[in-house]
Amino acid sequence: MDVLTFQVGGEWYGLDAGIVHRVVEEYAVYPVPMMPMFYKGLLFYRGDLYDVIDLGVLLGSKPATGSRLMLFRWRHHAMAFLADVIGSIRLLEDRSKDRIVLETGEIVRILPMERWIERILNNGHGSGEIQADLPAGIG
């Protein structure tokens, strides 16, 4: 499958390109109170609402530094991920593998969406001070 790669906190990750339907630049994100630290706000694109998630905060390092948002839909969730750098689309030939090795030797870890969305949702408590549970590793 095609994988959209992106970098957060110096590490590379990948996401099924099939669910990403747009990468948008500098779009207005409206903050919402009483949401978890990784929740940057809401985005309204072409009539639909997207929850903007700061992957830097979610993955336990500092806030993401990028300006482009990856808009995707998975099941009935519509979210946008903010990373540091968005890379190219790579082909993952063996779907059972959870990583791609780049020419530089760096590893791209493929995010298993179901588990990730669950983590995002379960960390979404009402009170704003709760730090997202830091995942020990991905995949």
Partner: protein, 532 residues
């Protein structure tokens, strides 16, 4: 909203119908007088027509319309079927096979010619035919056509999405408006007027995405019949209130829950024909889908005349997992009783087929409905049938709300929930009953600026056991604005304090605050000390 999904469904379903039409045509050729074959043909072509219409595929729906009328004549024995008539239908079938994969595009000259030639043939009626009663009903070959005045038109969803997209970009352009010097006041005022018109356009366009329930149900009618056949059930679907329209985005999210509910009705509700006959029911089961629109809610009822839900497994769950006694169970009202199968830990996996098996998947369906801010009610009479009612707030509604800011947050409260909005600290004796949102949201308080104060209407914001909240303290009051309410995603819903997300005419988003929930969630009303 994923149009590709609908296209795929259309192609898949049409393909199935076409295959069936192909085999029926063979039967027709063998026995052209048999009206049953024509009836079947009519039905399949009608289904294709319905789907094509829902997808606004003009050329296909028009061809299907002419073909179905043609078949109807033979079905009713108004015309006598001859070799030539069958050939025309076969040609129509070939044309449909060619047109459907290209979604009705007449982009090849030969195709275009063949299409219009056949349409003409179909409308003229069979050549040299004999009307069954022997009379010459049509002296000439032209069928008289009466045309109703056009009251509504079908517009392709993709065009509406494009329009919406454009109009949204227009709105956002206002942000990058260059500053104009005072001498350009006339230009400024022209620009402001232009921007206001763009906003109005956006607002109205957003209300364009409506689809009728009939078109919605048509999209998966075939899947339902296929499922019924696979399970050896005879089922018919009866739809009422199909002309009610709802926002496409809402219906799109309703698609899966609906299919599951109907599948459950077929798999676990409607009994096998022999069983039904033994019970004195007609062999063919009925699934009745009723749509009703009341004020701002849509009610969709799916009822079957099947076996109903057996009470035993539910009673067992209540006794074992919830510690209910027999008396407690007897006291429960039917709604609460059957609602048990929606709980996440109610599973029929362990039950040895004792229940109607509906537990599986029902909690997922319930979640999907809750996500849409709707409710699910189940009623059932063992042996007679089950009825599931889905109540949904219509997705698009415009209301007035007072918009205000608290730090970087833009929030709004429905105007109907407020008595007054002004600036200044509330008097000392009541200040405790005013919820300071600045504190609650962790926003820095600027002591030199008087806070905005929103006084709540007396009936709202009473959390049980706590002092009533009389009002809110905020930073800036933006104003009383018309807001379009959208359903937020699960993350925001989990926070519980928002009743929705509002879109202002300017395209800016505001979080709609549910003050009652906020009072509950925030617990004690915080002290509002004066900052100097």
């Amino acid at each position: 909203m994923d149009l590709e999904k609908y296209r795929q469904i259309f192609l898949r379903e049409s393909d199935k119908y076409l295959q069936e039409i192909g085999s029926i045509l063979i039967d027709v050729e063998a026995d052209p007088e048999e009206t049953g074959h024509w009836q079947e043909l009519h039905g399949k072509i009608h289904s294709i027509k319905g789907m094509a219409r829902a997808m606004s595929l003009e050329s296909i729906s028009r061809l299907a319309h002419e073909m179905e009328a043609w078949c109807l004549k033979f079905q009713r024995k108004e015309w006598k079927a001859r070799e030539e008539s069958i050939r025309v239908v076969t040609e129509g079938y070939s044309l449909l096979k060619a047109l459907i994969p290209r979604l009705g595009r007449l982009d090849v000259p030969e195709l275009n010619t063949a299409y219009y030639r056949l349409l003409e043939l179909l409308s003229k009626g069979p050549q040299g035919r004999e009307p069954a009663d022997g009379s010459k009903r049509r002296a000439d070959s032209q069928t008289p056509i009466s045309v109703d005045p056009i009251r509504s038109i079908g517009v392709s969803c993709s065009l509406i999405e494009e329009l919406l997209g454009f109009s949204q970009e227009l709105l956002l352009m206002e942000r990058s408006k260059p500053a104009l010097s005072p001498e350009m006041a006339a230009v400024q005022s022209w620009v402001d007027q232009y921007a206001a018109l763009a906003k109005g356009l956006y607002f109205r366009l957003a209300q364009l995405r409506l689809m009728s329930i009939e078109e919605f149900v048509d999209l998966y009618r075939h899947t339902i019949h296929h499922q019924a056949r696979q399970m050896g059930r005879l089922v018919r679907i009866v739809l009422s209130g199909g002309d009610i329209k709802a926002d496409v985005a809402l219906l799109d999210r309703l698609r899966e829950p609906m299919i599951h509910i109907v599948r459950n009705a077929i798999a676990h509700g409607i009994e096998a024909p022999e069983e039904r006959k033994a019970k004195g029911k007609p062999e063919q089961g009925t699934i009745r889908i009723e749509a009703e629109s009341r004020k701002e809610t849509l009610v969709l009822r799916i009822a079957d005349d099947g076996a109903g839900i057996r009470r035993e497994a539910i009673e067992r769950y209540l006794r074992e997992k919830q510690g209910y006694g027999d008396a407690d169970i007897a006291r429960m009202d039917t709604k609460a009783f059957f609602a048990v199968i929606l709980s996440s830990d109610f599973s029929t996996a362990s039950a040895t087929d004792e229940t109607a098996g509906r537990g599986i998947g029902m909690n997922v369906i319930a979640q999907a409905i809750t996500y849409l801010n709707g409710t699910l009610d189940i009623d059932s009479i063992p042996g007679e049938g089950t009825s599931i009612a889905v109540t949904l707030p219509m997705s698009l509604s415009v209301m007035h709300a007072v918009v205000f800011t608290v730090g970087p947050y833009r929030i709004a409260v429905p105007t109907s929930g407020l008595d007054a909005a002004s600036y200044g600290l509330p008097p000392d004796d009541v200040r405790e009953s005013f919820l300071d949102l600045r504190r609650l949201f962790g926003v820095e308080i600027n002591g030199s600026q008087p806070p905005g104060v929103l006084k709540l209407r007396s009936s709202s914001a009473a959390s049980p056991g706590r002092r009533r909240i009389q009002g809110l303290m905020v930073d800036t009051i933006v104003g009383n604005k018309p807001v379009m309410i959208l359903r937020p995603g699960q993350l925001i819903r989990n926070a519980r304090i928002f009743s929705g997300i509002g879109v202002l005419e300017s395209g800016v988003l505001t979080s709609m605050l549910d003050v009652d929930m906020l009072a509950q969630v925030s617990g004690q009303i915080p002290e509002t000390a004066m900052e100097v």
